[in-house]
C-alpha cells in the first residue's frame, strides 16, 4: 500500500516579473482658443479612413484660425522607422498640441500610442485616436509606457472600408470631442460651425455658413 | 547512426552477390549527413548482367538497412553499370 503525504510541499520561484507601480506622466491641455495656435495631425499611410478624417479636421482647424502641421508615418523599423520617430520628435517640438492616429489594428495602435506619448513627453496636449475595438489596447499601451492618463478619442469600428460620405459625417460628429480632449477653449457653437467651402455650397444649392 | 549495424548489413548483402563474383564495399556512413555510400564491385564478375539489376539492388539494400538503422538515411549506391 502506498501512503501519500498530503502535507508535502515544494518551494518554487514565481516566474512572473514584478509589476512596478504605474507611472502616470502629466497630461496637458491647450487651454486657449485655437486661433493663433499650431496644431499637429499625425497620419499613418496605412489607413485611408484616417487620412480623410484628419483632412477634414485639418480644414476645421484652419477655419478656426489655427495653423496646422501634418506628419505622416509609414514604418515601424529600419531607416523609415527611425526617420519617422525623428520626424515625430521634431513635429512635437514645433506644435502647441496634436492629434495622433490611427489605432485600428494591434501594432498600429501601439505605434500611435507611442507617438502620442512622444508628443506628451514634450509637455504638449496630446490625443490618440483609435477605433472602439482597440480602445482597451490603447489604454493598456499608454499605461505600459507610463502615460496612463493619455487622452484617447474613440471612433466607431469598423472604420476603414466606410464610404467617404460616412467618414466625413464621423469627422463632423467627433470634431467637438477632439477639441474637448485637446483642451481647446472653443465656444461650443464655434466648435460645431465651420466655413462652408464653395464645393459644398454648390451641393447645398447656395446655402452659406 | 550505428556504424557496426551498417557494416554488418553491407557484408550480409554483399554475401548475396559473391556467387556472381560481385561484392559490396562500404565507402562511408556519415551520421552528420545521414548518407550511406556503398560501392558495387564487379571486378571479379564474369557477367555484369547476372548481378541483380541496379534498381532492385538499391531497393534490397535500402530495405535491409532500414531494418537495422534507426532514423532516416539516404543510400547512395555507386553502381558502375549505371
Amino acid at each position: 500500500m502506498t501512503v501519500t503525504d498530503t502535507r508535502a510541499t515544494l518551494t518554487i520561484r514565481r516566474p512572473t516579473a514584478p509589476r512596478p507601480e504605474p507611472v502616470r506622466a502629466p497630461t496637458f491641455k491647450l487651454g486657449t482658443p485655437l486661433a493663433g495656435r499650431r496644431i499637429g495631425l499625425r497620419t499613418d499611410g496605412a489607413w485611408r479612413s484616417w487620412v480623410l478624417i484628419a483632412g477634414e479636421w485639418d480644414e476645421r482647424l484652419r477655419d478656426a484660425g489655427a495653423e496646422t502641421l501634418q506628419v505622416e508615418t509609414n514604418a515601424q523599423i529600419g531607416d523609415g522607422g527611425r526617420t519617422d520617430r525623428r520626424n515625430i520628435d521634431a513635429w512635437s517640438d514645433e506644435i502647441d498640441g496634436g492629434i495622433v492616429g490611427l489605432g485600428t489594428c494591434g501594432s498600429c495602435t501601439s505605434f500611435s500610442v507611442q507617438d502620442a506619448v512622444a508628443l506628451e513627453s514634450h509637455s504638449k496636449p496630446s490625443v490618440v485616436v483609435v477605433t472602439s475595438e482597440f480602445e482597451t489596447h490603447a489604454r493598456n499601451m499608454a499605461s505600459f509606457l507610463g502615460h496612463g492618463d493619455l487622452e484617447v478619442l474613440v471612433l466607431p469600428y469598423p472604420l476603414e472600408a466606410r464610404p467617404d460620405d460616412e467618414l466625413r459625417a464621423i469627422a463632423a460628429e467627433y470634431w467637438p470631442k477632439a477639441l474637448e480632449l485637446l483642451g481647446a477653449a472653443e465656444r461650443p457653437d464655434r466648435a460645431a460651425a465651420r466655413t462652408v467651402r464653395p464645393s459644398e455650397r454648390d451641393q447645398q444649392g447656395g446655402a452659406t455658413g | 547512426m550505428d556504424q557496426e549495424a551498417v557494416a554488418e548489413t553491407v557484408d550480409e548483402m554483399g554475401a548475396l552477390l559473391r556467387s556472381d563474383g560481385a561484392d559490396l564495399r562500404l565507402v562511408r556512413a556519415d551520421p552528420k549527413t545521414a548518407r550511406i555510400e556503398i560501392a558495387l564491385e564487379l571486378d571479379d564478375a564474369e557477367c555484369e548482367d547476372c548481378v541483380l539489376p541496379a534498381e532492385l539492388l538499391q531497393q534490397m539494400i535500402t530495405d535491409a538497412l532500414s531494418r537495422r538503422v534507426r532514423g532516416e538515411f539516404e543510400l547512395v549506391l555507386h553502381d558502375p553499370r549505371v
Binding site: 501594432s107 493598456n140 | 545521414a34
Partner: protein, 356 residues
C-alpha cells in the same frame, strides 16, 4: 554555484498537478503542465551561463517586465530545458530585443506573428535541437521542444504578452507554444544561415524570425530545380501576404525551408546562394490584376507597382532566406511568411567557460 536567488518564493503542494493548477489559476502557465522551478533546477541552469543572475537581458514588451537572467532561468526551468540548452534561450531573447526585430509591434499586433527560432552551430545535437525529419513538429527533440517554450513563457510571464489581453492577435498560431529548429548544415549546398549573416561557423547562433506561421508547399511532379524554385516563388508571393500590405517592402524576411533533397538540386543549379535568392526574387511577384480594384489603388499609392504592373513581394533578394532542414522524403518545402515590419536578428550563444 553559490548564486543568491531573489525571485519571490511560493509554496506549492508536491502533487504534480498542483503546480499545473496553480499556473492556470494565476495565469502564468501556457495551458500545458509545467515542472517546478525549484532552486536546484534554477541554479543548475544558471551554472551554464556566464551571465550573473541579476544581469538584465532587457525589458520585454508589451508590459516591459525586466528580464533578469534569474527570471529567465525560472521560466526555463518550468519547461525541462537542460542546462546545455539554456544559453540558447538567452540568445533568443537577446536577438528579440534588438529594436529592428520590433518586439514592441510584434507582441501587440493582431497578426499571428511570433518568434521562430532558427538555430545553427555545432551544438545543435548536444542541445537536442531538431533539424531533420519533423523538425518543425513531431521530432520531439528536448532542446527544440523546451527552448522555444521557454522563450514563449518569458514573453508571457515577464513581458506580459497574453492573447486577448495585452496581445491583440486574432488567431495566434502553434509557434506560440514555441518553435525552435535547426539547419541541417551538413546537407546544405551553401554556407549556413548564421555564416551568411556574418557569424562564425564554430559559433552556436540563434536567429529569431518574426514568422506568421508555417506555410506548406509541395510538388510531386517536377524535379527540375528552376521549375521548383519558380513555383516556390509564386507560392510565397500569395496576395494576402503581409508583405503586400506594407509600403516598406525593404522590411521583412521570408524564410524558405528547403528539404535536403531539393536543396541539393538547387545547389547544383545555383552554387552561390545569392543566385538562388535572386532567382526566387525574380519570380516572387504577382500581377496587379490579381487584386480587386480598391486594393490595386492602395498598392499604387504605396509605390508597390512597377512599370510592368507587377507587385514584388520584397525589395531585395536578400530578404528571401533559404534554410535547409527537414527529412529525406523530398517533395516539400515550408515557407515562414513575414510580418513585414520586422527584421530577423541573430545572437551567438554564450556559455560559461568549462560548460559542455
Amino acid at each position: 554555484m553559490s548564486a543568491v536567488l531573489v525571485s519571490e518564493q511560493v509554496e506549492v503542494a508536491a502533487d504534480p498537478t498542483a503546480l499545473y493548477e496553480l499556473s492556470l489559476a494565476e495565469g502564468w502557465g501556457d495551458g500545458v503542465p509545467l515542472l517546478p522551478p525549484t532552486d536546484d533546477a534554477v541554479l543548475a541552469l544558471l551554472d551554464a551561463t556566464p551571465y550573473s543572475p541579476d544581469h538584465v537581458v532587457g525589458a520585454l514588451p508589451p508590459q516591459y517586465g525586466v528580464a533578469t537572467i534569474e527570471l529567465v532561468a525560472v521560466n526555463t526551468a518550468m519547461t525541462g530545458c537542460t542546462a546545455e540548452a539554456f544559453p540558447f534561450v538567452i540568445a533568443a531573447l537577446e536577438a528579440m530585443l534588438v529594436p529592428e526585430w520590433n518586439a514592441f509591434g510584434l507582441t501587440t499586433t493582431t497578426s499571428s506573428v511570433f518568434a521562430m527560432l532558427l538555430v545553427n552551430g555545432p551544438g545543435r545535437d548536444a542541445a537536442g535541437i531538431d533539424y531533420r525529419a519533423g523538425c518543425m513538429g513531431g521530432a520531439a527533440g528536448r532542446g527544440s521542444m523546451t527552448i522555444g517554450r521557454s522563450v514563449s513563457l518569458c514573453l508571457r510571464n515577464i513581458g506580459g504578452q497574453r492573447a486577448g489581453e495585452t496581445s491583440r492577435t486574432v488567431f495566434g498560431q502553434p509557434a506560440r507554444f514555441g518553435l525552435c529548429f535547426g539547419e541541417w548544415e551538413e546537407r546544405s549546398p551553401w554556407p549556413s544561415l548564421a555564416v551568411r549573416r556574418g557569424c562564425a561557423a564554430t559559433d552556436d547562433v540563434v536567429t529569431v524570425h518574426g514568422g506568421k506561421g508555417t506555410f506548406p508547399l509541395a510538388d510531386i511532379h517536377n524535379d527540375d530545380p528552376r521549375d521548383l524554385l519558380y513555383l516556390i516563388a509564386k507560392s510565397i508571393a500569395f496576395p494576402l501576404s503581409n508583405m503586400f500590405l506594407s509600403g516598406n517592402p525593404e522590411n521583412g524576411d521570408v524564410v524558405v525551408a528547403m528539404n535536403p533533397m531539393w536543396a541539393e538540386r538547387f545547389g547544383k543549379a545555383f552554387p552561390a546562394v545569392e543566385d538562388c535568392q535572386q532567382y526566387l526574387w525574380d519570380h516572387a511577384w504577382q500581377p496587379l490584376a490579381v487584386w480587386p480594384e480598391g486594393n490595386q489603388q492602395i498598392l499604387r499609392d504605396k509605390g508597390r507597382v512597377d512599370a510592368g504592373d507587377r507587385v514584388r513581394l520584397v525589395a531585395s533578394p536578400a530578404q528571401i532566406v533559404p534554410f535547409v532542414c527537414g527529412g529525406l522524403g523530398s517533395l516539400h518545402a515550408v515557407a515562414l511568411p513575414s510580418f513585414g515590419e520586422s527584421q530577423m536578428q541573430s545572437a551567438a550563444v554564450l556559455r560559461r567557460t568549462g560548460s559542455a
